[in-house]
Subunit: 191 residues, 2 copies
């Protein structure tokens, strides 16, 4: 049995989750300390106790955390299962990460705007690694390296495109239906 996580860590995790919802909905500049305090139930001063660096430290921690969350989806590509199974599991995990299209990808939200200057370059490298991990699976499905790399980029673009257009169209099902089709497409591209 796994060891019980310390309550300190558990409290910090819910604190971070509450903070993330504000940045997700309002972006970096739109997320004021008053909003953050209200969302967490703490005062502004208490937030500075947990994050002495203020807003900059909060967002740095949140980016780290969101990248780790997203990483958990790409971990589904590891293991000895067939590549199409792993790719479909990844797509499902990504869907979970963005709450089936109801939420956002915090990494993507924060990388648009003033935060990109500070965290944009390392995040871009991370996304390249993720694209390579996807490409490896497409190669295992029979595609040549160049084509696999292309298919990996297309899959990423489709996922984020479905997420964004679902919000533009205000259609909660747009993302869900798109995910379903994407998974069928992975099945087919095996031939």
């Amino acid at each position: 049995m796994a060891p019980k996580p310390s309550p300190v860590t558990a409290k910090r995790r819910t604190l971070i989750a509450d903070l993330a919802t504000v940045f997700q909905a309002r972006g970096y500049e739109g997320a004021t300390l008053a909003h953050l305090a209200a969302a967490t139930g703490l005062s502004k001063a208490s937030l500075y106790h947990h994050f002495p660096g203020g807003k900059a430290e909060i967002v740095a921690v949140l980016v780290r955390d969101a990248v780790a969350d997203l990483q958990r989806a790409f971990v589904r590509l590891q293991g000895t299962d067939p590549p199409d199974v792993k790719l479909k599991r990844f797509v499902d995990a990504f869907s979970d990460y963005v709450d089936a299209g109801r939420g956002h990808c915090l990494v993507a939200v924060l990388m648009q705007g003033s935060i990109a200057e500070q965290h944009g370059a390392p995040t871009a490298k991370q996304f390249e690694d993720w694209r390579d991990a996807l490409a490896t699976q497409f190669e295992a499905l029979g595609s040549k390296p160049k084509r696999a790399h292309r298919e990996a980029g297309e899959l990423l673009a489709s996922l984020y495109g479905l997420l964004l257009t679902g919000k533009l169209l205000r259609d909660p099902d747009h993302f869900r239906r798109g995910i379903k089709r994407l998974k069928r497409g992975i099945q087919k591209s095996k031939h």
Copy 2:
């Protein structure tokens, strides 16, 4: 010959274009009046002369204007040319609208965040109309209505996804290559 546009209107057009660049790069909350004044070369007080409603009026005008710009891409779907030709022209026009992936779609940028509450619903209706216009062309290519509707949503998602992932990957060519492939895909889906 078309009548020469009045200098007043021309000045206002460049003014709006300058303001748009700031909102595109910084989002609604990130675009302060100081930034907007600097970008236009006017003082803050002068901005209030042109837009008495302040920042809210500026962004309302900009949304109207950006929607009209984007509409110009969808106008390429009209006419008597073959549907695949019209769809490819639309894709090129969209690419031009976002400066080949180097810029953003101002509509999409503003609809994420606090502005969505005010302008989100009418914009969503507009996007539905645009999706329908695309679906009509896919029907003309031989797809049944349901499938054409799906293909239209996929095309929109791919365009916005390529735009977003190109920025996440910091790869200026990602969008350009994706556009090329999308156009080839339209060719193929004809058969």
